[in-house]
Each structure stands twice: as C-alpha cells, then as structure tokens.
Symmetry: C2
Subunit: 224 residues, 2 copies
C-alpha cells in the first residue's frame, strides 16, 4: 500500500486509509522494527514511563497537527510539562490560523467558527476542540519550560483537503442546528453564526475569483 | 465647514467632527429646514409617534451603519417591527463581513473578535455590540414583515479608516486584558484570543504584501 502523503489522510473517518492501515504500512516498512505504537493519551503514556533521570528517554517529541484535538489549553500545558521531563527536544506542527493565499481564508474562518461552537460541548469529538494560534502555543511551551529555537510558516499544498472538509462542516445544517441548540445567549449565538456567515462569504469570494479552496498555512516550531 | 464624506467620521470620539458639529452643518445646509433631529433610541422615538394609520408617517427609513450598535438581535427585531408600522420602505447599510480585497480581511476578523468579547459586557459602549451578517439581518427583517426587494455589496473606499480603527482596538493590550478578565472559561478564552491572533496574522500578511489595511465590504439592502 503506497501512501501518498500529499493527499491528506483523515484517519478518524478512515479516508483514504484508516489509522490502523496507516500504522500497519509504517510497521512493515524499513523502520518498522524501531517503532512501538502506544494507543494512550500522551499524559497517560508519559506517566507510565519510569521516573526521569538525567538521561532523557527521548531525543525528540513530534506533535504534528494534534494539539487542536486536546480538550483544553491546560491539558496542552500539562502535556508540555510532562514532555519536558522525558524529551530533549520538542517539535510542533499546527495550523497557523493565517492564510498566505486568500483562498485559504475560508479554512481560517471555519476553524474559528467551529471552535466557537465546540467549547460548549463537554465531550467534543470534533477535529477542532481547542483552537490556539502559534503565539499561544509558544506561550504554553514557554510556561512549561521549553525555549523556542526556530519557527516557520509553510503554505499548504493545493491537494490538501482539510480546508474543504472544515468549511463543509462549518456550513453544514448540523452546525447551524447545534448553534441554535447549544448557544443559549442570543448575542453569543449571533457571534457564532456571524463567524459561519463570514466563512460562507469568504467561500463565495474565493469561487467568484474562479479559485479552489485551499487549506490554511501550517506553523512549525522547534523547542529545546 | 466642509465635510469630506470620503473621510470616515467617528462621531463618537468626535474625529474629525463631533456628532453635534456634523448635525449643525447639515441643519445649516439647503435641506436643514426639513430636518428634525431626535436624540432618542429608535424604539422610544417610534413609540412616541401617534398610532399608525393607513397612511404611514414615513416614506422611507434609513439605518446606515447603526445596527451593530444595537445591544441585541432581539432589539433589532423589535425595531424592525415598530418601523413596519410607520414606514413604507426600509433601507439598510451595514458592514458585510466579507472582504472582496484581501487587505480588508483583518477588519472582518477584528469585528468578529470584538463581538466575541463584547457579548460578555452587560453595558457595552463599543462600536461592535451585536455582529450580524447580511443573511441574519434579512432574516430578522423578514420576521418583522419586511420583504427584501434588492441588495448589493459595495467595496469600501481606500480612505475609509474604520478597518484600521477596529483592528487597532482588537490588537490593543486592553483587548487582551479584557479577554483575560471577562472570559472565565479557558476554552472560550482560547477562541477569543485565537480570533485576535488570526487578525494579527492577517495584518502581518497584508503588510508583507506591501498593502495598506482597507475596510471591509458594505452590504446594502432595500425592503418593502
């Protein structure tokens, strides 16, 4: 099975490959023997390691497009702190909330709209549970003792479909129904719906220019 | 006193002219004799009119960039309903929450960020107290019995400074301080700050292209 990494993989809905299929592919590759899969939350996993010594267990930890799945900023902070004890370096990659190309702006607005709705749910299963810009991630990492060494922004490739997926979710009838059900204050509900309407306007503008939706920029940060 | 309408007038801080100065200028013009200034809330004013008859008191009502100052969507609905009894036509002009030019996108994000903070204040004195996209304004007008006759979007002129003002307010230290003070839920606070950070990223992107910030598009709607 050849995984085309240019094509985005939605491992949770299993399109085009499930998480299990992707892991199996990697395990059967040349580096498979060096890989152990741990299906635990990061904090659970780190807590199960032996006490940290002077020699940290890991040369580096990579958190790639995973932080927005965390349930709160404080859980991200706790995880950064636990990693500090076990890892020499920390590499982060996350959506940047910026759009170098205007056709990626709908994705930015869709992410913000979803986040404005999701915090009302106690047990969110959305792709966007906690939305944090690079600035906040750097602040949290710093609070946990990590020092930013370098950072960069990368424009998403045209074939990356996440922007389209998140826009679809934001503009779905389900989103509007949930906003009506979950957001009780009419002024706040107005803000959530305005975010959705701004996303729709941004989509309309992109299409009027004859352009396809793109995914937003990605931020990468390296910490020691 | 010559008012250059291409230059935006912030009547509330009185720059470049106060509201009183602007009204005085108009009253002394050729149409001054036909103008009565009423310094009341629209609902108070409409309530003081004699009971509606078959002949409505006003040929038309214009609400120009005023609806976002209303304290809630339901107050806008009540005002639209009261106007229905006294006015033959309704003309609305309001920020469209769209940016035909990408350099107006920071204004869209600044407006949404401010609205996400302002609903926490019981007595907001901000320029943005209730944010509603054209779609919602049409829904509210329809609910009040008005029928949309025509609508259009207009790109803001380059000299219109409202976008810059709202971006300045969003990126101010005061905004961040208020977000920390007023928004108690850390997940929700994350959303408010992410909106601000997305506004900053949008400003940075606009400047990186060597462009000045513009104000967002304006929507105009005509109802009967």
């Amino acid at each position: 099975m050849a995984v085309d990494w240019k094509q985005s993989i939605d491992v949770f809905t299993g399109a085009p490959y499930t998480l299990g299929q992707a892991q199996n592919h990697i395990s059967q590759g040349p580096l498979g023997g060096r890989i152990t899969w741990a299906q635990q939350s990061p904090l659970e996993y780190l807590g199960s390691l032996s006490s940290p010594s002077d020699t940290k267990a890991f040369d580096a930890t990579v958190l790639a497009h995973s932080l927005w799945y965390f349930s709160s900023p404080s859980l991200i902070l706790a995880t950064f702190r636990a990693l500090r004890k076990h890892s020499k370096r920390l590499y982060l990659a996350e959506w940047a909330l910026s759009a170098a190309d205007p056709s990626a702006q709908p994705h930015v607005l869709a992410a913000l709209a979803q986040a404005a709705l999701e915090w009302h749910k106690h047990n969110s299963t959305s792709n966007i549970r906690t939305v944090l810009a690079p600035k906040r991630l750097i602040e949290l990492a710093s609070e946990a003792g990590w020092q930013l060494e370098s950072e960069s922004r990368v424009q998403s490739g045209e074939g990356l479909l996440d922007g389209q997926w998140e826009v679809d979710a934001c503009l779905s009838e389900r989103f509007e129904r949930e906003a009506m059900d979950l957001v009780k204050n009419e002024r706040e509900r107005g803000v959530v719906l305005a975010l959705r309407d701004a996303c729709q306007a941004s989509v309309d503008g992109t299409r009027a220019c004859g352009q396809k939706l793109r995914s937003m920029d990605v931020w990468v940060g390296s910490f020691v």
